[in-house]
Symmetry: C2
Subunit: 353 residues, 2 copies
DNA sequence: GCGGGCAGCCAAAACGATTCGAGCTTGAGT
DNA sequence: ACTCAAGCTCGAATCGTTTTGGCTGCCCGC
């Protein structure tokens, strides 16, 4: 007897919280159905009533509860993107592109950073499932784990960007660049400068993009019969890895005259190593990188790099995702965007060719 | 007559969707209350039943719907942070710090980028309100707009980080550094090198942090009677602004021998301008910046900068927010963290003092 | 033999929105 | 005069959870 009214009264006196649609209805003496209809324009509402409702909304600072809304509609108007490293401006730019595109379609996007670890990505994906996001774009960590990701996400649609997983799982949608082609072009540029001893610092070849870049490099060198195993290195994808491999390359008996790095952070590492060893770039050693970044023109020398259209990749991924969510699916489920070789100061003809 | 069964059947045949707690209950022949109790450990459940439930959860790939959960609990376990520029690694690092700290307490955080515009920030805050986040940390755009932000957010707790708004609104919680002190120390370092003609490129003085940095600079120069109005500039906070002001400073009749930039992007702009004008840094002109960033050691010269503990700022903001949400409020509602002068290569004694 | 506490389970009422169907007026068409 | 549609409004069901209070046995101590 006593506990019941007690709990009642405590509930009554809880802090005022947010206004609900019911409060608005009460304020104008209407039903909540009418208020809902007025706010969403889904049914007839008299002009007078509409005005009163809008006034009350203003006065009460009413804002619909998206939790309730999403629960009822089974749609949250929320997307997500997970990238391997947010502090890498290449991925940050992909995220921005996606945000910009999807904001126009009134979606909000959650962004996650897997730090190249599947375990972290999995945690994030599980969170997304619990929140019932409408779709996610993955720049997967490590080797993809596509089937495990699909398992975690259930029926939530996925688009892959930049990287894509091994063939263990058929991937419905993907957007990125032709890595083999881009790497081949870049290598051929070095060849055209007169280089013959060209090294590559590639990413782990378990990732398909790294494998393709290596492939493109090899194709170009095989063309002129100048491929040498000792010039092929696999680094971790970070700066330290790039630096370590560059040092090993440059301190061997017959060092290369040019180094091609398969992503942007490793390029920075290589540059650091070159400076540390006191070699002159580009006079003694040419450096060519992948994945341009915004402030690359501030470095001395300014780095020559293969630019991926990061922003466009993000925007396209967002578009593809929304298209499949809203079921105006395009059948072109895979998009290849063009790269661009940004020629700057870090490559020059070799001293003795 | 015909429409009703039709709609029924279409609803039946809708895509299978996600498993619910009801599905789990049905699968093990229990009630949903029991399943809930088992999963949350909130009530007695026999070991046998618990095992069956866990098996079913596994088998059905059941994951609780956080929308429903948040609706019922009136708590979403979600925080948010909004910063003026995500591509600035200083803010990115604050975000990381906050994420790391709050992840340990099982919160997830939404991150927003206002691009220095209150209008964009407002949109984001409104979205946060609709989603009923539990709290938000602001690194406010522009002049703060604290009272407007409070209006938009209603009863949702706010913590300010780095910047804080004008006194138009009492701010409950803030974490940052002593800007005046840091700027004064930096300026005094330049003085100690022998500089007397020291310029500052400050941010818009409507923001309080910019005003304080300017104040610290002035205090140091007034101490030796070396303050000159023509050496005081206000830039936009971006690279272009820094470059423009630096060019104006360096091309005047009696140029300064040292420039102090009040944030990191303007420092980059100034560096670019210096290189463009063909001046040697640090031999002809010394450059000192604010807000260190990760790759500043890659630039030549390596920049001497005032380092703010970005990561710690983010972590502290997260802690303060969680503390007020979970109502174990500490009364120390404002935290000042120490800065550090990172002496590198961009400052040297002036040619002719 | 009986009151009472405990272990284990459940039905029902929230949480805050949308939507379906139906009710009630009016005005126009026949 | 009767029907029908359009305009406006509302009640109730629903989305998937948590939580409260109650119910049932059962064992324990007296």
């Amino acid at each position: 007897m006593s506990p019941k009214p007690a709990s009642r009264s405590t509930r009554r006196t809880r802090r005022p919280q947010h206004a609900t649609i019911r409060d608005v209805a009460r304020a104008v003496g209407a039903s909540i159905s009418t208020v809902s209809a007025a706010l969403n324009g889904t049914d007839y509402v008299s002009a007078a009533m509409r005005a009163k409702i809008e006034a009350a909304v203003q006065q009460l600072q009413y804002r619909p509860n998206d939790l309730a809304r999403g629960l009822r509609l089974r749609r949250t108007h929320t997307l997500a993107i997970v990238v391997p490293d947010l502090s890498n401006s290449f991925y940050a730019e992909i995220v921005r592109g996606m945000k910009d595109y999807t904001a126009a379609a009134n979606y909000t996007v959650l962004v996650g950073d897997s730090r190249e670890r599947w375990a972290e990505e999995k945690l994030f994906l599980e969170m997304l499932h619990r929140r019932r996001v409408d779709g996610v774009v993955r720049v997967p960590a490590g080797d993809g784990n596509a089937s495990q990701a699909a398992q975690v996400l259930g029926t939530i649609p996925v688009v892959y960007a930049d990287r894509y997983p091994e063939a263990d799982h058929p991937v419905a949608a993907w957007v990125g660049v032709d890595n083999a082609r881009a790497a081949m072009d870049a290598t051929q540029y070095l060849i055209s400068l007169g280089h013959r001893r060209i090294a590559i610092i590639s990413g782990p070849t378990t990732t398909r993009t790294a494998a393709e870049r290596l492939e493109g490099y090899q194709r170009a060198l095989r063309g002129i019969g100048a491929m040498h195993k000792e010039y092929i290195r696999n680094g971790e994808l970070d700066m330290a890895g790039g630096a370590r491999q560059a040092i090993e390359l440059l301190t061997q008996a017959k060092p290369p005259t040019a180094i091609f790095c398969a992503n942007n952070t490793m390029t920075l590492g290589a540059l650091e190593a070159i400076q540390q060893l006191g070699r002159a770039c580009p006079r003694e050693i040419s450096l060519l990188g992948f994945d341009d970044f915004a402030w690359s023109t501030l470095l001395r020398p300014r780095l020559t790099m293969v630019r991926q259209p990061a922003r466009e990749i993000g925007m396209t991924a967002g578009r593809m995702l929304i298209d499949t969510i809203e079921e105006r699916t395009r059948n072109r489920a895979t998009q290849t965007l063009p790269t661009q070789l940004m020629v700057r100061d870090s490559c020059a003809p070799p001293l003795r060719p």
